[in-house]
């Protein structure tokens, strides 16, 4: 089996370790939302302890899926900057690799909210003129790394505009 997203590839870098817990938490909590209706509905509709027979397995499944997803999110996001442009690999089950060449970068944003700021992290957004890739967003960079990436990818003033 040929994995697209090969974790042992030395040319690819992972995200900042400080982002691991943050991305885990933000990865898990959407999976916990279904637990609320899965608790309320069976416990009110089904008599006695039968409700628990639905609630407990659903809650466990959600938790397991959330934990797997949350861990994979940080672990399976890897990036690479070469002299052509920026490459990003994402995903454990549905894997993808995006390449945005430097010549196609329109502009770049660096965001960091309070949670990220306190950990010295930042989110990088690469804008291109494409339809799906119009804003490639990736969180979990160290602020300095994000700034270095921005400086490396910033479009040159005198570049050709023939792509548009």
């Amino acid at each position: 089996m040929t994995e697209l997203n090969d974790l042992n590839d030395p040319e690819w870098q992972g995200l900042d370790p400080a982002a691991r817990r943050l991305m885990f938490v933000f990865g898990v909590w959407p999976f916990l939302i279904p637990i609320v209706p899965a608790t309320l509905v069976p416990l009110t509709l089904l008599p006695g302890a039968w409700g628990l027979a639905v609630t407990v397995p659903v809650a466990l499944a959600c938790l397991a899926a959330g934990i797997t997803f949350g861990r994979n999110r940080w672990l399976y996001t890897r990036w690479r900057l070469d002299n052509h442009g920026f490459r990003l690999r994402k995903g454990r089950w549905w894997q993808k690799e995006v390449f945005i060449p430097r010549t196609r970068v329109q502009h770049l944003d660096i965001h960091n909210g309070p949670m990220e700021r306190s950990r010295g992290l930042a989110t990088l957004v690469i804008h291109s003129a494409g339809t799906q890739s119009h804003a490639l967003k990736q969180e979990g960079f160290r602020l300095e790394t994000a700034q270095a990436l921005r400086d490396a990818l910033i479009p040159q003033v005198q570049r050709d505009d023939h792509a548009l």
Binding site: M1, T2, E3, L4, H84, G85, W93, W94, Q95, K96, E97, V98, F99, I100, P101, R102, T103, R104, S128, A129, G130, T131, Q132, S133, L136, H162, A163, L164
Partner: protein, 497 residues
């Protein structure tokens, strides 16, 4: 900056011009459009109430506003720009440089044509709406303005080549015969039926109901006769009803094609492709060649019988939602293979289209297309057997059909890449081809689902500007993973240059 046109039009710089004297009428009409349906209800249906009369009072206010707009709107054509002054209380001066104008379109509805005027829209492709809208100019003045602006359209460094560049080659002209064919193929008649039905409902919503009731009653009255003549007449009746509906729909489609595309002319010079079309509403617009992004060629089953194709392109057009700068341009609603080649080669390098050599997908690609629907058919069959007994097993007949379908699908699917042009093709009953110059690709993706991984496959997807939602993606699925990776690397290296 001296332009050759200075000599011909010496005093244009100073002259400040007004719109056509009748433009207040069109301004008014534009506002009234929103009220026209309730008004019709009022006049025809006679079912209006007090609130709708208040709407009429609003119109009384609109007339002076429209007239005031006419008196406050001035424009001036300079040597290199057009300056538009407008506004009664809140004044605006808008300065549009000719070289920034991406598109000048003339719109003429039936009313415009009766008065020999046209609405001019100047679009720079920057904002949400067109930057300059002149409602309305005399037709001759509008054409003059269009010519003036287009004469300034020069590529940097080719200022001298403009004279030859402004001769337009006609690339495609559709005769009435072709349009009838297009009507037969397209299903746009459905839109007319829906719109007509909606309109009827607006006017008098009991009418369609009554028509239905009438039809129902007729069937009920004659059901005795039908029943006497056994099953056959039932089937005959149903079939003839379907036939009438089908014929009517085709007729509507043909009418729609004739109205929309009458006199369709696609022409091109070194800067742009221009389209003129329309029987009642005339449209005259153009698309700069450099804004063409990805191409789509389609051929449905009926089109193949007629040996015709449909050709459309995505255009980079900002966020504009206007008709003229639509991000999807139908360059040829119906064209034979030669015309498609002629249009494609007008923009792309010669020999780009049609593509002779296609690379196949992974040899097992057909299994991917086959397995998922075939597996889904099994629980569906189980349900049917549960509900309808052994007859439910008939659903399994779908499996050989799916098998055949996926085999044929995989046979036609493929991709082609020669460094300058990337193309994919898919489809069996309805085929499509999608291609784009590598220079227009913004980002290169490679994707692999768990199912892909089992087969050692991956897909390559290329992102272009304004790829329409209704267009097939510029993507090739079910490639051997090494081939996909190599292809993505190769394209990446080219677009990074």
């Amino acid at each position: 900056m001296t332009m050759p046109s200075d000599a011909d039009t010496p005093n244009l710089e100073s002259a400040e011009l007004r719109l056509h004297p009748l433009s207040w009428l069109f301004e008014l009409f534009n506002v009234l459009k929103q009220f026209i349906v309730p008004l019709l209800v009022l006049l025809v249906g006679g079912r209006g109430n007090q609130y709708e009369l208040w709407g009429l009072a609003g119109i009384g206010i609109m007339v002076p506003v429209a007239v005031a707009r006419y008196f406050t709107f001035r424009y001036r054509i300079g040597n290199d720009r057009v300056v538009i002054r407008s506004g009664l209380l809140h004044k605006t001066v808008r300065d549009i440089a000719f070289t920034r104008v991406q598109n000048v379109t003339l719109h003429q509805s039936l009313l415009h044509r009766l008065m020999d005027v046209a609405e001019v829209r100047l679009e720079t492709g920057g904002g949400e709406k067109e930057e300059g809208r002149m409602r309305v100019l005399g037709f001759a003045a509008a054409q003059q303005l269009q010519r003036t602006i287009r004469s300034h359209e020069t590529l940097p460094g080719t200022a001298m080549a403009t004279d030859s560049g402004h001769d337009e080659d006609v690339l495609l002209q559709l005769s009435t015969r072709e349009l009838i064919k297009h009507g037969l193929i397209s299903n746009k008649g459905m839109l007319i039926v829906a719109a007509g039905f909606g309109g009827l409902m607006q006017m008098n919503w009991e009418l369609p109901q009554r028509a239905m009731e009438q039809a129902g009653r007729w069937l009920w009255d004659h059901s005795g006769d039908l029943a006497q003549n056994s099953m056959v007449s039932y089937v005959m009746g149903a079939a003839s009803l379907l036939l009438v509906a089908f014929v009517l729909l085709r007729i509507f489609s043909i009418v729609q094609a004739l109205l929309h595309y009458h006199g369709f002319t696609l022409s091109g010079n070194q800067h742009r492709l221009s389209i003129q079309r329309g029987l009642l509403n005339r449209f005259n617009g153009s698309l700069p060649r450099t804004r063409i992004q990805a191409w789509t060629v389609r051929q449905g089953w009926l089109q193949r019988r007629f040996q015709r194709y449909g050709l459309s392109v995505d255009a980079a057009a900002g966020k504009t939602k206007s008709e003229a700068l639509d991000s999807n341009w139908q360059l040829a609603p119906i064209a034979d293979a030669e015309s498609v080649t002629r249009i494609a080669e007008h923009v792309l390098p010669p020999g780009s289209w049609p593509i002779i050599e296609w690379n196949p997908l992974h040899p097992k690609a057909w299994q991917r297309e086959f397995k998922k629907p075939a597996l889904l058919l099994l629980p569906a069959t189980a349900l049917c057997v549960y509900a309808a007994g052994p007859y439910g097993l008939l659903l399994l007949l779908g499996i050989p059909w799916l098998y055949l379908k996926s085999k044929l699908w995989a046979k036609h699917a493929g991709y082609s890449f020669n460094g300058a042009l990337f193309a994919v093709r898919e489809g069996w009953i309805g085929k499509h081809w999608r291609f784009a110059e590598t220079a227009k690709v913004q980002a290169a993706y490679i994707k692999q689902s768990p199912f892909d991984r089992r087969y050692g496959m991956a897909s390559v997807f290329l992102d272009t500007v304004n790829a329409g939602n209704f267009e097939p993606p510029l993507a090739v699925r079910y490639l051997p993973v090494q081939e996909a990776q190599a292809l993505q690397r190769e394209i990446s290296a080219i677009i990074a240059r």
